[in-house]
Symmetry: D2
């Protein structure tokens, strides 16, 4: 099955190429980059030398749909919303890694993203691809809105306690730490080496576009209105996201009971691993892999649950989950091509 | 004035040497390290070559008191508690950088530190050296318990809102991120390069010995019982601490009102700087300096205040604040020898 | 085929587990660590949770030989020399990742390694496993001395020009830069985060035990006495080695001619890639992969060739080349299980 | 004495501000940045909040000369060549940190810098500001071409052996490693965090514009033609340069003899420190300071000298040496305002 990738020069696309290349049922199809069209991919990415021997191509919806079986959009918000509809209309499976089709409300989208929302018709067609939670819908889908990196780590970390009705849904605070690759390959002072090395930086307080996405999932699944406080921080590393989430508990429950609850919740989901009591995952433990690892601690003094949830932002937070969704859509085993142990150290 | 340093091979001591060396009224006196006694300091620390030309010495309380005018204890918890009392008894000024004399309650100390507390007599003699808050007491003191790194950043970040009676004192959550130098120069897997580089790691959830220290200060100053949730994380950098603190507000107040409140609170305190609305400090902005920089954001959606407070853990979080306290104890201007601009980038 | 790993707690072993786990013809057999025997592997290495579900075992040569088909020794120098002989005698295939069986001369070994050499009998049985160069011998071997990380990058970088009789064999200077994982998981001040982060450090000038190993290979293959100047540096990153080698050329030759020569030399060797003229590989371009990437530049002003050769020290410099050798010994395609694209960025 | 800084938004300027601020005889005068004119300096550089309370200004040669006593040009090559002449003509002391006035030959300049050279008149007026070597000329100078970072570390590392006629001047190879701040604050993929973190990268082989500068100094001082091979590498850290230089020795000489030679050569120069035999400096040991630390090793096997020379590229490699030159020009003690111990760790 040929997989096209649009937005070929970004880190999401490059990670898709890495994963597709080792997938037994997928092969790299057209790789689209309008700015680099005609140039060899390995010129921009020498690590692909002698592995990917093809040039970037210009975007051409007809050709894409004809020559490929599935399209991954690794394009920025505002670009996907233009391309996805025509690709969907041509009947090819589409997985969009941008934020364009994740929010159901056009209004919410425009408030947080600050540009026009896609049309209702396509918003309602898109299935939100949080693989562990919407597995059945994804299996039947042909158009996926692949979740954001922060929402993936956060939602997987909070849903078990919320769905068990044990959390005060108004008390949720999420303190997120991300590696710098999440900022993409576009140049900016924030991602300039000398500015972010040996530095921790908080950004977009109360204004991150992933806030409504997280609240939408948590509300959908818990049936209650959820308003979160969400703070994002850049930390000096390339890959990895850790979210540390704080929840006031309704009633008394021990760490070991919470652990059991989470283990059961993710029983049939190989990519979510719960650490034993007293052990917390670090981001390096999932680096290069599709795992979301979770550690839990109930503070008896405050009756608050702390959830530590880590992912590789480029894998489970982007390209890996996209492949996981492709597996589901095609009826393949969920972990096909994604079995790799993380690169440690 | 000659300043002795005990615990000479650790990072705290080395930072004290750096700061004392540039202080107009202090000079480096005896530097004590029992394990390295007799060896040149610059053998352990070649960056001191041709600057500090003296050997480490054995601990000898009499000689220390006779040949020096002030003693800085950069020794671990459990060691300071043995040395400080006899030095205090000999009448020399003592500033202890360990946690041994910070908690007033022996009981609390033993619960969190897991070894025997110092005697009541010396606990009550020690003045808690959070310079901006206890300036008057410090000026009259001869024995200082220098605050911990996390408590310094946290207390300075939370006291203005708490003292203004605008914060729900039970709602406080502190998410702390620290560079690895905070773990000291002692070897451990946690500080092993390949384990912590490209990694974020949460540790000691609900069990960090700085929790009772923070709660003691906040309670003392607010007059209300404060129980916090406190999570510490190691991030891959050498220096710097950021705390991100979350507080439920009592009543409506805007970010700019909170900003004004903080600016006024620290009006006469040159080492605390409040960033303008919408701007948040990063750890590199204080690296190598004695500043504590603070950014503030009120989330109208949740009526919660987020406080970003950053320090250099080895300066304002240890050696710098110790010098600041020495300045106060000796009647010198508070910023004497501490005026340096941070090393950026 | 079951593969045993001895020295299970080190980074070499952990990388072997990662690679064996994805190898179609190998599975992880006994993992031996005397210090951790009985404990679950995933306790020491949580990234293996739910993937490797077995404890470390005690060293027992009989059991090892009986229950496994091949043994990888990821033990330190001085330990392998004790274990390898008895395992070899039991008829099981052995690949030793230490330096113990690489030097043919006992004398040389003792001069550089500072402890007793293994017996002649086993030294002469061991085949030096530089896969691209000794492919035929490796195919017939049952006991492999897997090359060191620096010698792999250096020898692959220098052999084409030396074998073409175009290099002054007395002029060779090798300036090597290594990530810190090369120092292993054992604690030391050199690998202590705060000491090596934001730091470049030269070490073991003229005294590195890889010097005689490199000289042996270069001499064997060029037929001329080779004495090199070799300087190793630690750079603040976890994985990767770059060697920058300098050679005086005999006669005039252009960069493009040298490029052609190297391309031809490695024509049938998929893991060595030659960059085009003017392009030089960086270590990240091979991170996590088994590639050795080489860039070449002839300086017309000095008639000197500069060779840039990069590998991932834990893959092509250790575990990956060991698997490559296992492939050759077993008649499998040389790249079986090693096809992964490097993890970029 | 008021010191103006032109090119105010770059790292060189920011480092000048840091150093001038602590200098007893200098104060920060006009800070010029045409792109940021009118904006507060502390908006671009929040670490200067409440310390530097002035806006960036537009370039105006008349006003600059009138209101300041000395001008530091921290402008790029090609810009300094336009500004320096008119400032020099107005009689104000000028220290140019760019490469524009370092090469005496216009021809050489245009070959390596690829744009037009400044006029002969000004080239011959400029004194090359390698402080330790040209101290007397600098004392009498009013216009200084401040040396490049690589040439400073290289020349200080090689001159003693060359001037002693013990080095084969045709054999010199310099392998240089630099932190990323050397690339400046301008955005580029090379300085993009995710590209250079966990990476070592060689660049500009045989083409670096510092090559003719180094050769000019070495030739001037040794009286012999010197042609070097020079390779620059970016390593993942912010500050610091290490050069590892290799020289064939003429005749036999031991490491301790070379050490004695170097110690004597720099006897009266406080900023150059020679490590004892067997010890080599690391870049962190000079971070934030004006030191150039040197380690030496004679390899008896090859009769080659290896020189390890480290500096902080922004201090001794730029702003610090500029201040050192200002001290000399004004008759102040050479280390005035530069006595700081490096920031370690």
């Amino acid at each position: 099955m040929r997989a096209a990738i649009i937005g070929g020069t970004g880190y999401g696309a490059i990670e898709l190429i890495r994963l597709i290349n080792k997938h037994p049922h997928l092969e790299v199809g057209c790789v689209v980059s309008n700015s680099q069209a005609g140039n060899d991919i390995s010129e921009s990415y020498p690590h692909l030398t002698e592995i990917i021997n093809q040039p970037f191509e210009k975007y051409d919806a007809d050709r894409l749909a004809k020559e490929n079986d599935i399209v991954f959009l690794a394009t920025p918000s505002g670009v996907s919303s233009k391309m996805a509809p025509e690709l969907v209309d041509k009947g090819i499976k589409v997985i969009d890694l941008s934020g364009d089709f994740r929010l159901r409300s056009q209004n919410e989208y425009e408030t947080w993203y600050k540009h026009s929302a896609p049309g209702e018709e396509y918003l309602s067609k898109a299935v939100y691809g949080l693989s562990e939670i919407y597995e059945e819908e994804i299996k039947r889908a042909t158009f996926i809105a692949n979740p954001g990196c922060y929402p993936t780590a956060t939602s997987l970390g909070l849903l078990p306690i919320l769905k068990a009705n044990l959390a005060d849904s108004k008390s949720i605070i999420v303190d997120a730490k991300s590696g710098v690759s999440g900022a993409g390959r576009g140049l900016s002072l924030t991602a300039h080496y000398a500015e972010i090395n040996e530095n921790v930086k908080a950004y977009k307080l109360g204004a991150h576009q992933h806030i409504p996405e997280i609240e939408q999932v948590l509300k959908d699944e818990s049936g209650r209105l959820v308003t979160i406080t969400f703070t994002t921080h850049l930390v000096p590393m390339t890959r990895g996201i850790m979210i540390t989430a704080y929840v006031n508990l309704l009633g008394k429950i021990s760490t070991s009971e919470v652990n059991a609850l989470y283990k059961q919740f993710y029983e049939n989901h190989p990519f979510v691993r719960i650490r034993p009591e007293g052990i917390y995952p670090s981001t390096k433990e999932v680096s290069g892999s599709n795992y979301c690892d979770i550690g839990l601690h109930v503070d008896q003094r405050t009756n608050r649950l702390t959830v530590i949830s880590v992912i590789d932002n480029l894998v489970k937070g982007a390209a890996g989950q996209a492949i996981q969704n492709a597996n589901l859509m095609n009826g393949w085993a969920v972990s096909t091509g994604l079995e790799d142990i993380s690169l440690y150290p």
